[in-house]
Amino acid sequence: MTEYNFAYLDEQTKRMIRRAILKGLAIPGYQVPFASREMPMPYGWGTGGVQVSAAVLTPKDTFKVIDQGADDTTNAVSIRTFFQRTAGVATTTATSDATVIQTRHRIPEEPLHEGQILVYQVPIPEPLRFLEPRESETRKMHSLEEYGLMHVKLYEDISRHGHIATSYAYPVKVEGRYVMDPSPIPKFDNPKLGDMAAIQLFGAGREQRIYALPPYTQVVSLDFEDHPFEASKADHPCGMCGATDSYLDELIIDDLGGRMFVCSDTDYCEARQAAGHKGKDAA
């Protein structure tokens, strides 16, 4: 694809995105509007993450893409191939080897280290959107730090179900100021958001927003004293590697109700298996 610029985007567009990233890092959790471009993949399929990755990648980077924790899901493959072609970057599936990781819906199990950048694909960046559809209103609420609506919603859950009925895209408060949508990661991943050594960047293409968490930022999942936040997952070990600390996918293995649970983070699971760990369903 020699007819396109390094990492596809033209330099002016990259500068615009880079300026937005810097402001996002300076105001953790605040959604910076940016003039998202049409990308050669559909809105809703990671165009925000792709634009952010394109703006931060250098030819020296090693790039990893995961979707639902897996490197080999079709959309992850498609995005990885896109940057191989347009930026000529090295790619990897090993979390620890990657310098830039683009993700949809998961944070890798293995703790990230300094020098790494985690880029999230975000569908709806506004944590208040499903409570208030109007952008003009939600922007006002953020400016006034008026988050009562969110607490009311969570409390209504409790009175109705006995629990907060939000299991993914669970809202967080950043540095005591902005309520932020962590993208549709399971709430199991929420505790990894805070105090992370890596830089976290969030890109929402269709909604034209970029936001960020610098390393070691305080991120608190919203909760109540009598209903503290709880990071939950399926109560099973991984059938392949036996891990008990990883987020699991549920697979239906026959038509008799048989099921098994496997790590959603494929790299984590494979590395454990290679190190000799074995689950009850492994060969």
Binding site: F6, K14, R15, A20, I21, G24, A26, L213, Y216
Partner: protein
């Protein structure tokens, strides 16, 4: 137009600005760390680091304020040629460029609005020295605390009190830079200098 107006830009803009941006981003994400940045050869008094920052972030959409002796024909011509950025006064700038004494007082720069705190100026401050000792820094991007040779303390404390509004700073010196976003708490109490963070 002089010969050095046309030269001193990035020879390979796409990859050089990508590397330069990573230095700027790492610096902004980790206040109190020093980063190497190279590739630009701007006319004096602009340092190579400041030149690279400007080439990386500025274009026709970013009004620049040149403070003090930065506002000279050579710098104007060089920036016009390489970035096309318009020159404005401090009240309407997106980037302000100069030595600390020429940039202060800070009250004149845009600090954003409560609905759009991002619409604030970034000040690029040319420093005679830049080391990881001096004022103590805490806040997002900093594990425990960090230290940086800031030109003063009160102005940054006042800026922090404006949060989430406020100004963001990039400090340049030779081929190095550091940054201080508005989110950083600055205090005078001195701690031993951290080891030099080195190249990004």
């Amino acid at each position: 137009m002089q010969a050095n107006t046309l030269s001193g830009g990035f020879a390979d803009p796409a990859t050089q600005s990508a590397h330069a941006f990573r230095s700027v981003m790492e610096a902004m994400a980790r206040p109190g760390t020093l980063r190497d940045i190279e590739g630009a050869a701007p006319p004096a008094p602009v340092s190579p680091a400041m030149g690279a920052v400007l080439l990386t972030l500025c274009d026709t959409e970013t009004p620049i304020y040149l403070a003090g002796d930065m506002d000279c024909d050579a710098v104007r011509a060089w920036l016009s040629f390489h970035t096309g950025a318009p020159f404005v006064g401090p009240a309407h700038c997106m980037f302000a460029v100069g030595k600390w004494d020429a940039l202060v007082p800070l009250a004149v720069y845009p600090i954003g609005t409560s609905e759009y705190p991002d619409r604030s100026a970034t000040l690029i401050v040319e420093c005679d020295a830049l080391v990881t000792s001096g004022a103590t820094l805490t806040g997002p991007g900093i594990k425990d605390h960090a230290a940086l040779s800031l030109p003063e303390v009160e102005a940054f404390q006042a800026n922090r009190r404006l949060f989430p509004l406020g100004l963001d700073f990039i400090f340049t010196c030779g081929e190095r830079l550091a940054a201080l976003p508005r989110s950083t708490e600055v205090s005078r109490s001195s701690v031993p200098a951290r080891a030099h963070a080195g190249a990004s």
